[in-house]
């Protein structure tokens, strides 16, 4: 590692007698320069701008070659041409106009973009900003990703024409032929008709995808519902486990407190969350967390296996823990709280069910099934969850656990929050529930300065979206089960595989719609396994994709419809964090090449299927935006008119209550405001879950309980092997939202794909920072750069999720993109049947 580069004493000023240019062949000689300065003179604004535009157009031309590139078999990994001007930007150009729009990726910052547009090109991207450093003003400032939109909009990977999979090639090879829109629509509609008539509507699936958020952004469900419906999914790739378990705990009252509620807290515990990295914008958690940290008098602990960027400059907030063991820590804290009489028994008996024998439901009394029994060693496993028990599991010294328990039991208000990192694991459902135990044990719920233990809530402006209509097909699978349902659909049952609303699937998935998402492969688990299923077109017979760039999932499509960025269209979005905002986007220029908006493309499919009128309701997308907004406005008169909204671009609103506090109403009156759980209270023992467990089949090592317990992970710190001795986990990265922006060279340059590894694990392997390392396990192999750092606990390595998978799938299948989903199991979590992508073990070796 290079030591303090900047501290190297600078070269002393050398008296410059005619200096010798370092590389004379590249530069004008000093003499020429001195005598003819005009040769190198800055161009005038006009010629300057012209050159800039020419250079940008060159890129568009290069991008336009995608069809031809594709024929040559190289749709991805093209060389990024110089798309930026080599001369400075002209400013205050009278021909330049400002167009407001918004980011539309699943962040959910969806921040403001102030586009400088000239001659139908974006020449600069700014954001909504007031000229001050006032941390209280609501400014949805775009992050580095938003500021990099030009590099993405003009990316050579953009899809410009309708494409179909090249004859004689398999899905996944990524070879395509340019076709006309007529042919594309004919292929999509005829296959859709054929599949529905052959296999029924249950064989049609709209894959989970999050690349577009806007009120008119997602209309495939509307079309397919009109055509008889499709196999639905439940859950999300972000929240599968936590959202599955939450209704058993809190019913439908699960919204968390806003982050600024912690301003009033005296102690703040945050599990598995890096608010500064996951939502980076100027009016979501990055800002909200920094503002809260500055204002609160509360001591903050971020409980994480990684010293995340949310701790930068504040390293004393890091409480390092082994990944996947949060529930063990909570159990030991609970033991200490109970043992030292620091639990709030009145609260537990009034507001909760199942803490102790006294508060168990009749059906479960007398069998030592309570939470207290589990913790104190009188429960089903007969193990007392002492700090000594937890120390080797969590890596936190027993003495430290005892101190922390005392702090938790004696410091109020206590604000406990978890991100979605702790739950994206094989024990995620029970871990998420366990974390909620800390505010419950201490009675720190529904009061100022508290939270319910779940993710922070938001104060948002919610806008109406194009209605999807009713899906006549009620059967659902878990969001993570697409590949299974393609591979072995009719074998999948309600009891074993989490099929909902039917005992089993009637058919496998035969037709997939993949719009603006990268979850076929890239964001899915066990990419090698998914590849084999998708490559076989006798299983899933047709895949239609639609996207703006040739991401990995697009390579598995039979037909690709070229989409337009939301920021290139009229668009509206409402969102928020501590404060709410809405952005009304206008179109900077018309469609380029043969790209069409998703709405327009789906309308063409609807026309071919004979249901255009039902689909559009006689409206263009612009008509929808207008009428939807009017509907919203009729419910919320404080919103500006559409014209004003577009002119101003950004509309912000502070929470009139100051902050949201989770379960405030329930705390005030638990009878009047009873929860929708089975007991009407907060369930620490869930009778409903006990019934669910009894009625379902689980794998032998899936330990399932009706109370929150710690379960060692399948592939975790307690289950590493000699062959795979390290745990492997993932985190969100500054330069990507999941895989969005993953192909943008401009961002990749300063945001390298690295494996974080502690010195204790790197040194024995001879690894130093900057080395290329190979990471492997039973599912796959990836290569990336090493970053040796004390910012990760020994025994665990981690990398940022969402890197673009880059492997020769007909060759060695080594993923040189560093996408750790290559190494993630496709085994679903026990309850939610969700992705447990943080649960992996591996070996790491230095390459060459």
């Amino acid at each position: 590692m290079e030591k303090p580069i900047l501290e190297t004493p600078p070269t002393p000023p050398t008296p410059p007698e005619p200096p010798t240019p370092p590389t004379p062949q590249d530069l004008p000689t000093p003499t020429t320069q001195a005598t003819a300065p005009t040769q190198n003179a800055a161009p005038t604004q006009a010629s300057d701008a012209k050159e800039g535009m020419l250079s940008r157009r060159t890129v568009l031309k290069a991008g336009g070659a995608l069809g031809a590139l594709a024929l040559a078999g190289g749709v991805c990994g093209g060389v990024l041409p110089r798309f930026f001007s080599t001369t400075p930007t002209a400013v205050a150009d009278p021909e330049e106009k400002i167009v407001w729009n918004h980011c539309a990726i699943n962040c959910p910052g969806r921040c403001s973009l102030k586009l400088h547009v000239k001659d139908d090109e974006i020449v600069q991207v700014e954001t909504y900003a007031i000229n001050d450093d006032d941390i209280d003003s609501v400014q949805p400032r775009a992050c580095l990703r938003g500021r990099s939109y030009r590099a993405w909009v003009y990316d050579p990977n953009r899809i410009n024409y309708p494409l179909k999979r090249a004859e004689g090639t398999k899905r996944g090879e990524g070879k395509f032929t340019q076709i006309s829109w007529d042919e594309a629509i004919e292929l999509v509609s005829s296959n859709l008709k054929r599949v529905i008539s052959t296999y029924g509507n249950e064989s049609v699936y709209i894959n989970y995808a999050t690349g577009v958020s806007a009120t008119t952004g997602r209309t495939w469900p509307r079309l397919i519902n009109i055509l008889g419906g499709y196999l639905g999914y439940y859950g999300t790739y972000s929240t599968a486990e936590i959202n599955w378990i939450t209704p058993y705990i809190y019913g439908n009252s699960s919204a968390g407190s806003t982050i600024n509620a912690a301003n009033e807290a005296a102690l703040i515990l945050i599990f598995g969350s890096s608010p500064c990295e996951t939502r980076q914008g100027g009016a979501v958690s990055n800002h909200d967390y920094v503002a809260m940290r500055e204002k609160t008098k509360g001591k903050i602990y971020l409980i994480d296996y990684r010293h995340s960027d949310s701790m930068i400059g504040h390293s004393d907030t890091w409480l390092p823990i082994n990944p996947g063991t949060d529930a063990a820590l909570v159990s030991a804290l609970a033991y200490e709280l109970i043992n030292t009489n620091l639990v709030d028994l009145d609260f537990l008996h009034t507001y909760c069910q199942g803490f102790d024998e006294e508060s168990m439901p009749e059906s479960a009394k007398g069998r030592n099934l309570s939470y207290k029994d589990y913790i104190m060693g009188t429960g089903y496993d007969r193990i007392a969850k002492t700090p000594q028990w937890a120390e080797p599991i969590t890596g936190i010294p027993a003495g430290r656990i005892k101190e922390l328990a005392r702090e938790i039991g004696t410091t109020k208000p206590l604000f406990v929050l978890q991100g979605w990192g702790s739950q994206r694991r094989s024990n995620g459902e029970l871990t998420a529930w366990s974390i909620c135990m800390l505010p419950l044990l201490t009675g720190q719920i529904g009061l100022p300065g508290t939270n319910n233990g779940l993710r922070e809530g938001s104060y948002a402006i919610n806008l109406d979206s194009i209605p999807a209509g009713d899906n006549p097909v009620k059967t659902q699978i878990s969001v993570f089960s697409m590949a299974d349902a393609i591979d072995r659909g009719p074998e999948m049952t309600e009891k074993r595989d989490g099929v909902k609303n039917a005992e089993r699937l009637k058919t496998g998935i035969k037709f997939v719609v993949n719009y603006a998402g990268n979850c076929i492969t890239n964001q899915n688990s066990d990419i090698n396994w998914v590849h084999d299923i998708m490559a076989d077109d006798t299983k899933c017979e047709f895949v239609v994709g639609s996207d703006i760039v040739m991401c990995d999932s697009m390579k598995y499509c039979d037909v690709i419809l070229p989409d337009i960025f939301r920021l290139e269209q009229e668009s509206m979005i409402g969102t928020g964090g501590d404060a709410a905002y809405m952005i009304a986007g206008s179109r900077p220029y018309g469609p380029k090449y043969e790209r069409k908006s998703a709405y327009e493309a789906i309308t063409l499919v609807a026309r071919a299927m004979g249901v255009e009128k039902d689909f559009t309701d006689g409206k263009t997308e612009a008509d929808w935006i207008k009428s939807l907004y009017e509907t919203t406005r009729s419910k919320d008169a404080s919103l500006p008119t559409l014209e004003t909204a577009r002119e101003k671009g950004v509309f912000t609103r502070k929470n009139p209550k100051g902050c949201n506090i989770a379960l405030e109403a329930y705390r005030k009156d638990p009878v009047e405001n009873a929860l929708t759980t089975q007991s009407g209270k907060i369930d620490i023992y869930s009778e409903k879950l006990a019934e669910y467990i009894a009625a379902h089949e689980f794998l032998p090592d899936d330990k399932v309980t009706a109370i929150p317990t710690y379960v060692p992970e399948w592939y975790g710190v307690e289950t590493t092997t000699g062959q795979f001795p390290l745990a492997l986990s993932g985190f969100h990265y500054r330069s990507r939202t999941h895989s969005s922006w993953g192909g943008v060279a401009w961002l990749k340059e300063l945001n390298p794909q690295e494996l974080w590894i502690n010195k204790a694990d790197a040194e024995p392997r001879g690894i130093i920072s900057g080395d290329t390392v190979r990471v492997s396990n039973q599912f796959g192999v990836m290569e990336l750069l090493a970053r040796v750092t004390p910012r990760i606990v020994p025994g665990t390595v981690a990398t940022s999720q969402g890197a673009w998978h880059d492997a020769d799938m007909s060759g060695d299948r080594i993923d040189r993109g560093g996408n750790y989903n290559t190494l993630a199991t496709h085994r679903p979590s026990p309850f939610a049947k969700g992705n447990a992508q943080h649960t992996n073990i591996c070996q790491v070796e230095k390459l060459g």
Partner: protein, 206 residues
């Protein structure tokens, strides 16, 4: 003399590099160039004992730096053609690309690594404090980009009231060039010359 300077709040910066990209976008900087850099400075260790217990004295903080438009500007001093000059109106240090011969002395001399020779352009390039915007009474793009409001820009007298002249690792001793960068250091910040820590993100700074 300089009139304006930058302000950096180390307690607010989360090292996201939005400032870097806002600048790159405004200035049309291709791969290989960035006028602003965000250093991650890391020290300490995180270890595990024989019983499996983890302990850590790890610290990490970030510093976002561009050109500090120093009072004692060595880049101006070493420039053989006077291309590196102070704008008489704003005091910001700029490159006159019509005079610059791209010799690279400025790049070699600057302890903050602010100037760089762009071979394709044939001259030095660096942060000019968004001189064009300042003349137009606007703020530099990096300042208005920061999602957590960690950056500021203003008259030096105002900055002096807000913070202290930058003198933390991994930057050089302030007395060398008298940088016009004022900061509020984070709790983790270490003095210049700290020798038990390192720049942890060499691949992220140009």
């Amino acid at each position: 003399m300089s009139i304006y300077g930058f302000y950096f709040d180390g307690t607010r910066c989360t090292a996201c590099k939005t400032c870097v990209y806002a600048c790159k976008d405004k200035n049309d900087l291709n791969l290989g160039f960035a006028y602003r850099r965000v250093f991650e400075y890391t020290g300490g260790d995180t270890t595990r004992d024989g019983a499996g217990a983890i302990s850590s004295d790890c610290f990490t903080y970030s510093v976002s730096v561009s050109c500090n438009h120093c009072d004692n500007a060595v880049c101006i001093e070493v420039c053989p053609t006077a291309a590196m000059h102070r704008d008489p109106q704003t005091g910001l240090i700029c490159v006159d690309s019509s005079v610059c011969i791209g010799c690279g002395y400025c790049a070699l001399s600057c302890p903050y690594r602010a100037p760089k020779v762009d071979r394709a352009k044939g001259h030095s390039v660096k942060c000019d404090g968004c001189n064009d915007l300042i003349k137009d009474d606007k703020a530099p793009v990096c300042i208005l980009a920061c999602p957590t409001r960690a950056l500021g820009f203003g008259k030096i007298s105002e900055l002096q009231a807000k913070g202290e002249q930058v003198n933390i690792a991994p930057l050089p001793e302030k007395d060398y060039t008298l940088p016009n960068m004022y900061i509020k250091p984070s709790k983790d910040a270490r003095p210049v010359g700290t020798d038990n820590a390192f720049i942890a993100n060499p691949l992220e700074v140009l």
